[in-house]
Amino acid sequence: MTDTTTSTPTVNTVLGPVPADELGVVAVHEALLSVVPGAEHAYDISMDRAEIFEVLAGKLRDFRAHGGGTIVDSTGMFHGRDVNLYEALSRSTGVHIVASTGMGPEEMLGGYFLTPQTNPPTPWPAEKFADLFTKEVTEGMVVPRVERRGAAGLVASTATSEGMTATDESLFRGAARTALNTGVPVSIRYGKDALGDLGVVLDEQLPAHRIVVGGLDRRDAAAAGAPLEVAQRGAFVALDHVGLDDDDAYLTDRERAALVLDLVKAGHGSRILLSSNAIGVAKGQPDYDLPFSYVVSKFVPFAKLQGLSDEDARRILVDNPRDLLTLR
């Protein structure tokens, strides 16, 4: 899907490749329509497309009104992703939407990948996941059993919170190979061990600067010094629960701002990404109704009061995500 006639660096959005310089302020780890697999069949859950569209369009307009340019739906290919809906939303609101391929953790997969109709029912290996995800970039994202549409701009996976399972590892390796095959970046949400899980992706020889590690504002990871170590390895550090201020498992926004400043001071300003993991419309799970604009309208002004320079703020909101998302 990349334009090979010029050397302009581009990013895959749902409406096609966009010059990387046009992304503006980017939220890298968000969810537009997020559906727990199976919830679409539930008797007590409605899937009113018009209503879903209105809610998402309202949130995207708010994001844009606060200076937002690009939303990355980082939920992968099997958690409610709706490419047609995202195209219409992007056209209607003017916000660039980058959709993702990938899956995980293991618990979120369909039986097709875990207990296939073979004897024995061996779970899918990395190579098959790599092939499935790669085609979502090179041939287009699937609308199940109907068609392929635009190219995925990111490959995302998540490890099981109790620790990476064998299938999680296949997913991570498959994601890394997809990035190597196609030039899209990899997003990982680690399970128990941020550096160990990052190590799996690095083991596939994917350069660290093509990887973003999410959830590094988790209290356990921060206490263990993982954000600094991830930055030192050269991967992007996503502090991506901005606005989550009342959960013991995560830093508060005040602590998050301090961590941003520490990383900048340590010379890692070019590795930091901020996002909220907000959910535009949630189905089969609790709403998480934080505005997509929260980082840019609330948190960054607060971090500036704590001493973040305008230049670093811009780097974090615009330059770093652009560098991550640009196809290599």
Binding site: G38, H41, G110, Y112, T115, K135
Partner: protein, 311 residues
């Protein structure tokens, strides 16, 4: 699919079949995709032939997350004249997606009851049977048991019967049905004839407890050019079936072919269709001395008795 009908209208019933089955997630793999034109082209002639052969009712045993597609079934039913009964429930715990895999017995039961009494999604069509099953590995998992218990409650509440995928590890299943007060003649313990599990399935014991047996993988034979791993020699399956049909249990058995009209997430087994019932199975039964009354009992009377909603 097109509304409740009287049991007398069911006619000859194929008790365990699939319009199209795929493991959840297979819809993401374009390898299996077919156009709607291809789907209808593969499916309609099989159903029409089923109807011409004297088939009345096709019970689709495809679970909630396996590609069950009610609007499609309705169009097929209306155009071919075959009654199609759809199920609620799951083929096994390993085919229930996370929303259901995490759910309580109570939630699952409410979901099943809703699909039986109110309708499936926004289709207005009601499920006529509840599917449950044993996950790969042949031991009931905790989730399998939760689904069985929810199904039992839904069956007691609605009078709709239960159809199982596999009958191995039958003890915990029967314990659950007994605990929930479900008479065992409301349960068809399916795939007792399957090539992998038949040896270890306590078929006689299930009948003694009051359950029904489903010899419902007829046609998956080792004689096929490319048999699936659950295939079995034709003769072995027939002998197994005849032991029950001619051994005084003809009123406790049902038979079917478990064929896919157009498989969704696997290659399927070429040449194997629901019409195996007419083309091979019934002639084989006759050749083995089974009389017409017994054949009628198996495919018509037993099926009607089983499928009739019992309040």
């Amino acid at each position: 699919m097109l509304g409740p009908i009287s049991a007398e209208e069911l006619g000859l019933v194929a008790i365990h079949e699939h319009i199209g089955y795929g493991m959840p997630g297979s819809e993401l793999d374009t390898k299996w995709w077919k156009t709607p034109e291809e789907r209808y082209e593969e499916t309609v002639p099989k159903l029409r032939k089923f109807h011409e052969n004297g088939g009345g009712t096709f019970v689709d045993a495809t679970g909630i997350c396996n590609g069950r597609d009610i609007d499609y079934y309705k169009s097929l039913s209306r155009k071919t004249g075959v009654h199609i009964v759809a199920c609620t429930g799951f083929v096994g715990g390993d085919t229930a997606l996370p929303h259901f895999a995490r759910a309580s017995v109570d939630y699952l039961a409410r979901h099943f009851i809703h699909e039986i009494t109110v309708g499936i999604g926004d289709t207005g069509s009601k499920a006529g049977v509840i599917k449950v099953g044993v996950s790969r590995g042949g031991r009931m998992t905790e989730l399998d048991k939760r689904i069985y218990r929810a199904a039992a409650r839904a069956a007691v509440a609605t009078g709709v019967p239960i159809l199982t995928h596999l009958a191995i590890d039958a003890r915990p299943a029967i314990d659950i049905f007994n605990e929930e007060g479900l008479p065992l003649d409301r349960v068809l313990f399916g795939h007792v004839d399957d090539g992998v599990n038949a040896e270890s399935t306590p078929d006689t014991w299930i009948i003694e407890q009051g359950g029904r047996l489903g010899f419902d993988t007829f046609g998956y034979e080792t004689e096929l050019p490319d048999p699936p791993f659950w295939a079995r020699p034709r003769k072995d399956r027939m002998e197994h079936f005849l032991r029950f049909v001619q051994g005084g249990h003809a009123d406790k058995v049902l038979a079917s072919a478990d064929a896919n009209c157009s498989p969704l997430g696997w290659p399927g087994v070429k040449g194997h269709t629901v019409n195996y019932i007419f083309e091979v199975l019934i002639p084989d039964l006759r050749a083995n001395g089974v009389d017409e009354a017994t054949i009628n009992k198996i495919f018509v009377e037993n099926a009607a008795d089983f499928l009739s909603i019992r309040n």
